[in-house]
C-alpha cells in the first residue's frame, strides 16, 4: 500500500509540474514535453533519477522524465564500451522498444481508425 502512495505522490507531483509549466508559464504542450525529457536526462546525469525510481517505482518510470533518463543511460552505457561514437549509437538503445512500438502501433491504429475531429 505504501508503495502505491509513494508512486501516486511522486507521479502526481511530476504531472503537477507539467501542468504549471503549461498554465502558469504558458508553455506549449510540445515545449513542456521536451523540457521534461531534458530535465529527466539532467536528473539522470546527476544520478538522482534512479534514486527517485527506487523510491516511487512506477510513479517515476511512467512520466516522460523517465524517457530522458533512459536516453542518457543508453548513451552512457554505449559510450563506456565504444567511446564517443557510442553516445550516438546508444542514445536510443534502451528507448528503441518504446519509440518503435509508438510508430508501429500508431501506424496500425491509423489503418483502422479515422480521427473524429
Amino acid at each position: 500500500m505504501e508503495q502505491f502512495i509513494r508512486a501516486f505522490l511522486v507521479g502526481g507531483a511530476i504531472c503537477a509540474i507539467g501542468q504549471v509549466m503549461m498554465d502558469v508559464f504558458r508553455m506549449t504542450p510540445a515545449h513542456t514535453m521536451t523540457a521534461l525529457v531534458a530535465a529527466g536526462a539532467v536528473l539522470g546525469g546527476l544520478g538522482w533519477y534512479d534514486k527517485l525510481v527506487d523510491f516511487a517505482g512506477a510513479g517515476a518510470t511512467t512520466p516522460i522524465l523517465s524517457f530522458g533518463n533512459s536516453l542518457l543511460k543508453g548513451a552512457l552505457a554505449e559510450a563506456e564500451m565504444h567511446g564517443l561514437i557510442g553516445v550516438l549509437t546508444g542514445i536510443f538503445e534502451i528507448t528503441s522498444a518504446g519509440i518503435s512500438s509508438a510508430i508501429i502501433f500508431g501506424f496500425l491504429a491509423a489503418l483502422v481508425f479515422k480521427p473524429k475531429g
Binding site: M22, D23, R26, P29, K114, P115, K116, G117
Partner: protein, 335 residues
Amino acid sequence: MLLGRQSWLFDNSPRIIAAAAVGGPFESKCQIAEDFDQFTSDLWMEQDSFEKAEVKLLELACAKALEKAGLKNDDINFLLSGDLDNQITSSSFAARGLHIPYLGIFSACSTSMESLALASKIVDNNGANYVMAATASHNAAAEKQFRYPTEYGAQKPPTAQWTVTGAGAVILGKQGNGPRIISATIGKVVDMGISDPFNMGAAMAPAAVDTIETHLNELNVEPDYYDLIATGDLGFTGYSIVQDLFRKKGICLKKNLYVDCGTIIYGKDPKVFSGASGCACSAIVTYGHFLNRMRRGELKRILVAATGALLSPMSYQQKESIPGIAHAVSIEYIQ
C-alpha cells in the same frame, strides 16, 4: 466615395441579393442554429480529408446563395473568397468547380468583411452586375494547421477558442430590395506583441477597436447611429478587452450595442472555451443571424468589424508575435 483616409461610402449602396450560411454537426446544436440554411451530418462530409470537407462547405454555401438568389454560376461576374488553409486552397479548389472568375484573398478570419467590402466596391463602381463573397473554416483542419491535430488531444487553456466548421456566402447586386451595404472601413495591422496562439482574442482586440474608432470618426457618426456593432471572433476574452479599451478611450457604448460574433454562436458552452473563431464565425453570424434579425425588423443599421489574426504556423514557431487586423462593413435594411 473616400471618406477620411481609409473608409468608403458606397454612393450606389450595393444590395445583398442573397446570403447563405452552412454549418457542421456541432453547429447544428448551437444557439443560432435556426439561422443556418444547411448542416452537414458529420465533419468529413463524405470526403477523405478535413481539408476537402472545407472545400465542400464552401461549395454548399455558394450553391445555396445562388439558389436563393435565383441566379446561375454564369450570372456572377466575380467570386471573392478566402479561408485559413495554406495558400487558401479551400477557396481556390471551390472556385475550380464553380467556374466563376475568382479573386482569392487572405485576411485570416477578417476575410468575410474584407471580401464583402471589396465586392461592394466593385459593384458600387459598376465593375460588375453580381459579385459573390464567400469564406469557410473547418475546425479539424484549422486545429491541425495552427495548433495540434485534434487526435493528439493537447490540453487547451481557457483563452483558447473553437474554430467554427462552416461557410458563409453572399451575393451582391446593384438592384433589389435587400439589405444595403452603406460603407466600409479597411483596417490597419495592429500588433501588441501577443504571441500565444491560444489567446487570439487578446491579439486581435486592439485592431478591432482601432478600426471601429476610425470608422466612427471618418463617417462622423456616434456609436448610437448603429443598432448593433459587432466584432468578428474575439471570444469572451477579447470581448471584455474591447469593452475596456473603449471605456479607456472614453467611447461610450450603451448596453447591448456591442456584441462579438464569437460569443453568439455557442454561448457559454464550456467545450468551446472562450468562444468561437474562424473565417466562418463572422460570416455565418452576419449572413445568417444578423441579416435574419434585420429582416425581422429588430435591427436597421449594423456595423460588423471582422477580426483576423495574421499569423502563420511558421511565424508562430519562430516565436513571432501575432499581428491583428479588422475590417468593418456597415449594412442597413430599412423596409
